[in-house]
């Protein structure tokens, strides 16, 4: 056990969060290795999304540490965490509805490409930004919808854009909250392929209720129940885990 472990991409230890009297996250420990595709599953209301909110800076933890590549980020505001290379998507689609699809993606690339709050350089002249935007749009298959306001996209397209916004900033740690919810089989498959593609060379942490997707994609799975991680293991062993069976999977996965 002495060999030098690589620094984990994300490491949570004893993270806690309460809302009023309710403790929702009750001491979560979680390690995600770099380059890993890690899924979080668990019953509704277990606190999965809350956990994402804590990691991404949307909420401030009441206790515990959250480290991003060894650096403590607990309690930082979202933009600082994002600038350190962590990006996330939302369970409820969260895009810029009145901006065009192109604009949506381009905005998401700007900070990482070093343009920050620049109000002195023309955005159209930034070729690098344009290339990157095109690249992302092609990747999420929305190039031909580039001029459309994001708000009029269909549900599936909006979900794809949501992922596009998440990956555009070239963050190498990515959190996806139920990327396939509400999609038909065919679309789910497309999204899974997309996720597989964009998560190459990146670390992926993902919440998902669709077990096919989870077992298809994940290298490791953590099970969150009542604000605690009750198991964190490879898909096979999770599938076999009795506690998980009872707490979560029910019969459908079988």
């Amino acid at each position: 056990m002495n060999e030098a472990r690589p620094v984990p991409a994300i490491e949570l230890a004893g993270v806690r969060k309460s809302f009023g009297p309710m403790e929702i996250i009750r001491g979560v420990d979680l390690v995600v290795a770099p380059g890993e595709r890690h899924a979080v599953i668990g019953p509704n209301g277990a606190g999965k999304s809350t956990l994402f909110h804590l990691i991404s800076g949307h909420y401030r933890p009441d206790g515990g540490t959250i480290e991003l590549r060894g650096e403590d980020i607990a309690g930082m505001p979202p933009q600082l965490i994002n600038r350190r290379g962590l990006s996330r998507s939302f369970q409820v689609t969260n895009i810029f509805p009145r901006l065009s699809v192109w604009e949506n993606v381009r905005c998401a690339t700007l900070w990482a490409m070093g343009h920050k709050y620049a109000f002195w350089k023309g955005v159209e002249r930034l070729d690098e930004v344009r290339r990157r935007t095109e690249e992302i749009l092609t990747e999420i298959d929305l190039m031909d919808r580039a001029d459309v306001p994001a708000g009029v996209l269909t549900y599936g397209e909006q979900r794809a854009l949501e992922i596009g916004l998440t990956i555009a900033g070239s963050a190498d740690v990515i959190l996806l909250d139920e990327p396939t919810a509400g999609m038909s089989h065919a679309e789910v498959e497309r999204v899974v392929a997309l996720i597989r593609k964009v998560s190459e060379n990146r670390t992926l942490l993902m919440i998902e209720h669709d077990m096919h997707v989870v077992f298809d994609l994940a290298d490791r799975i953590s099970v969150l129940v009542y604000g605690q991680v009750i198991a964190s293991d490879t898909p096979e062993r999770i599938k076999a885990n009795a506690a998980v069976q009872q707490a979560y999977l029910g019969t459908e996965a079988a």
Partner: protein, 231 residues
């Protein structure tokens, strides 16, 4: 109970529903299946009066089309929308109370009974609706509609975002609801559930009904399944 014939609906200029006909009988569970974006949700919304429907819709013999949503609700049709439309600043309990309609006698569900359906909700009774987890919101929307004591309930993708065992629970719940003498018009992505609990199914493709029959018949119809359901 509900009869829809030649229903058309538009969003702005796009002609979404292009002559949908369907019906739901007493105590019946009927599902509408189909791919994303074919207009299933729009069908339910048009029956509720928004977008304004064109065509004939009757509920227990009374005309529905042309009425405003609140009148339609008073006729006895309940609707659980796909986007859930939880009132985020109201507490869970207030959300439920808003489901109660004026002048409804002997409702089938009291507040207490709805709590029993999903005990998890009761724990969160005083939390703001907006703070609920995705799954909890889904439960709340269903309960809220039940509080209005509808005779027909139209549910749009109730299992979306639910954990597997919860999906099971919803399936059972729908059957339970039907047993209390309520008809259900269901839009569902998960074929397994829909096929198991429905009495009849419709398959929709591009604003029109392309198949009508029992689950068994659909199972047998390979062509329809491949073309319109991609399975």
């Amino acid at each position: 109970m509900l009869q829809v014939s030649d229903l058309h609906a538009y969003y702005g200029k796009s002609h979404i529903l292009q002559g949908v006909s369907l019906e739901v009988g007493d105590n019946e569970i009927v599902s509408i299946l189909g791919r994303n974006g074919v207009g299933r949700s729009t069908t339910l919304k048009a029956i509720m009066g928004d977008p304004a429907p064109q065509g004939r819709i009757t509920f227990r013999g009374k005309p529905v089309a042309g009425r405003s949503p609140h009148e339609i609700a008073h006729l006895g049709i309940g609707f659980v929308p796909e986007e859930r439309a939880i009132f985020p600043s109201l507490t869970v309990e207030q959300n439920l109370l808003l489901g109660i309609k004026r002048g409804v006698e002997n409702p089938r569900w009291s507040l207490e009974e709805t709590w029993k359906l999903f005990p998890q909700l009761k724990d969160r009774a005083n939390a703001p609706g907006g703070a609920l987890s995705g799954g909890e919101q889904q439960m709340l929307t269903i309960c809220r509609t039940l509080m209005g004591n509808p005779d027909l309930i139209m549910i749009d993708e109730p299992t979306e975002g639910l954990a597997p065992q919860m999906v099971e629970r919803i399936g059972e719940l729908l059957q339970e609801i039907a047993q209390r003498g309520i008809s259900i018009l269901l839009v569902e992505q998960r074929l397994v559930i829909a096929m198991r609990i429905s009495h009849r199914v419709y398959v929709m493709g591009h604003g029109q009904i392309v198949f009508e029959g029992t689950p068994a018949e659909l199972l047998a119809n390979e062509a329809i399944r491949r073309e319109w359901l991609e399975v």
